[in-house]
Symmetry: D2
Subunit: 277 residues, 4 copies
């Protein structure tokens, strides 16, 4: 674990995520849950089962007992999406106290893509011819250079840092310490690992997922099984499924073979009871 502390996970062209410190692990989740349940569930669950039960039933408070502190270097436009997650602690580099650095994000060719026509908020799969792509990428770099040159000139003339920096584009890199508990990190990851999240924040989510997986492997697996790779069906969707299933009953053998534990088999049957009403 100690190898993980401080290790730089590269993100985008000049960014990174580093785990600076953390508190707790899978055991801390179990320990906190056992305080809540007292002797009530002591014998019922072994630890792994308990963590999975908690995740499945959205008993989220024990996951709040694990804490992570990251050092992140990221472009301002990514920082602006990120900061919308309010349940975290942040210390960001200040452009009032110090000079912003000459570091800007430029997209790689493969991620420079056209506006999606079906998805108002995202890019499509369609890219550009290499030549056009390279020209565009150069123009990003040129604009960043020009902006930074102007920034430096303003500082040289004595303009206050807090004013001069307004010429810098949102591709400029900033840094922060970001501290968050595991429950809220999972919430962040669920939203930002999603295919609809902007690519440039997704790579940071992936780096933090990699780190979390190593610190809390059991909780992370539960997160994948019950959150990340789950699907929620609406009232009408459930009715559609019901019709499609046409009174098919899952056999215990089927559920066993797929790996559902006894308790989860009951929960599943309970969820699909609506199909047989």
């Amino acid at each position: 674990m100690e190898d993980l502390l401080g290790k730089e996970f590269r993100c985008l062209d000049k960014g990174f995520v580093r785990l600076i410190d953390y508190m707790g692990n899978d055991d801390s989740i179990v320990q906190a849950a056992r305080v809540s349940y007292g002797s009530g569930t002591k014998r019922v669950h072994e630890d792994r089962g308990l963590i999975r039960y908690l995740m499945r039933h959205q008993h989220t408070t024990p996951f709040e007992m694990v804490e992570f502190k990251f050092h992140v270097k990221l472009p301002i436009f990514v920082a602006r999406q990120w900061i919308r997650h309010r349940t975290a602690n942040v210390n960001e580099y200040s452009g009032r106290y110090s000079e912003m650095k000459d570091e800007f994000y430029t997209p790689e060719e493969q991620f420079l893509r056209k506006q999606s026509l079906t998805n108002k908020q995202g890019r499509s799969e369609e890219g550009f011819q290499t030549e056009e792509a390279q020209a565009i990428i150069s123009s990003f770099a040129d604009l960043a250079d020009n902006s930074y040159k102007q920034y430096e000139e303003l500082l040289e003339k004595g303009v206050a840092r807090e004013i001069a920096r307004i010429v810098l584009p949102v591709s400029n890199y900033t840094e922060w310490y970001w501290k968050i508990d595991l429950h809220n990190l999972f919430h962040f990851l669920r939203l930002r690992l999603d295919a609809h999240a902007q690519y440039e924040i997704r790579v940071y989510a992936e780096a933090m997922a990699e780190i979390a997986k190593q610190i809390v492997p059991v909780a992370y697996e539960a997160f994948e099984d019950y959150m990340l790779h789950s699907a929620k069906f609406s009232r009408l969707e459930l009715l559609t499924l019901k019709t499609m299933l046409n009174d098919t009953n899952p056999t215990m053998e089927l559920m066993e073979s797929i790996g559902l534990k006894k308790r989860e088999q009951h929960e599943f049957l309970d969820k699909i009871r609506i199909f047989f009403e």
Copy 2:
């Protein structure tokens, strides 16, 4: 709407929920979303569709723009569960400033039930013979009476209110103002309308649901369709469904007949794509 303000919704034997004030309605949700999307989605959605889209995709911030303020009278043990919802504002009656009142919760016979053997945290369907039930209910009332008598004696002797009140049982009623935004109210309702929530808090959730339904009918209906009556299936459960469905494809006719709108049909097909991989 003005009829709703101040109207007492009775809960339990002596409690209530009253809507004191509110800000916003279905239109405010739409208005806030349109600020986010700019001209981006102006023509795509009519209002109802937009609210349902937001709910379905967990774009929760526009729902935070509606606010409710309730006056609630509730037993202390219910207040202790309720207060765990941290994203709300509270002003509670203080047993340090003022005398606690001689009002205690006594369960009705039909809700006085035995410990569930399968569910560690709840009561079963099994009640008591009327005679035994009445004896138990009397004993609740007697204990409350004795406690309050002792409380009054302590106050008469001059014992400070903040000390004297420690003799009062958690069935004692308290009151508070509770202010919450619609997103967080829905979160509260989803957890506390659930069959696993303790009956005594569920009745309060039902009263507030009744009120919300009148203030934001469209959002409330979306909440029912996409949250309350939805079901989330885990990775393994999806695999089980896949096997059960055995390559059955939903026809467009089926989806239409059940009432799924065009866009939701695509979303549904997307969710069950895993079934055909």
Copy 3:
């Protein structure tokens, strides 16, 4: 009050603050406090006195019962400072959904000032010769023009909006709905009306202060007297004051003449008791 709703308070060269909706007023603060205190303080305070007492003693929860919703247009670099206040609800214009507008902040000559040498985080009183100032201001405008031109070209080439926008400087204007309770608004105002806050966010704080003053005049006055124009002295500073005062005792006449109410006179004597120990 209805005149206030929607009224545009201009901020900077192209920004504004508009009150969109609000819930509650001075009476709501009193009403919430009376729920807490029960009959305990009913006769002691008239309303104004109660509000001032609450403010003075940092009984903050009754102030949380009043809510404001603002529509704000502001440069991105101001938005980045503003969003650090986490206890608020936000819906911001999205550069992924819609095109950013061709509107950028350019400082007026009088606010274009040199870096302070004593204060690492701010500007000094010293400006530039008009000619130099105008040249600098032109360069801001040119850079904004060039950036926006490049942004438009990228969009024309089909580059996804979420990528193209990274060329825009943080002087670009954005918009949001921002909802906050009065307690947290006062906290925001205390920090952002301060002389150390960056000028460009201070003008927004001033506009919101203007609005709050009209909705909750009594609470706002209490905020000025007990928060904004108060001073906190540290342990050593108190010792310094003690020596300076050299056993001078405030007479009741003095306190009366300055306007301290009876209860506040006692509180004051209590605070300076340390001077006579």
Copy 4:
């Protein structure tokens, strides 16, 4: 430090506070602040000075980077005050899952005091004659015994735990894990170490203060100097002080002798500038 982990700090007759885990120390505060300030303040401050500067100027975010997790055993009426601090994570023992224990708070004679006549919310200095005090204390114990006996009888009859527990008084002990960052812990301590806080919660604040002092000695000292032992003067109080001071100027010798550092001397002069206007 490791000796501190798990060590029981006794509180009241049967309660305790134990530090279960923590993340960070004085260095972490400095490290986080340096991220914000970049090279901006690197040379200006040594570490201790920086921490004190941050505290003095309410730059609170670096203090949020230190985290504490406590195990606490406390009476329900104390838990009810405590839980009002919302910015913390909690896992509480559940009376639905498990049986409540036969442990109740009984005040010691010296803390059994009469209602204050001047302070609506507290007890006075006046106690009871030993004989009367002992009789009252016995009555607390008897009531607790009777309640618990009735609780056990209800459980024996099969009444669900979640119902049976409503007979237990708020003097009943509960337990929880409580996780909080240092900034919010200081906020808790400032309110709950205060003479106006109820004695029974103050003893817990004192235990946690003792622990914090050992983990973050420099930050704790700054907290004492600039928060706990500071005094805030209102606008009118400042005018009163001004008159009392009657143009007395603090000499540099005085400020030096009392221990104000150079920078703080300027801050002090700045605060009292109003006295000479």
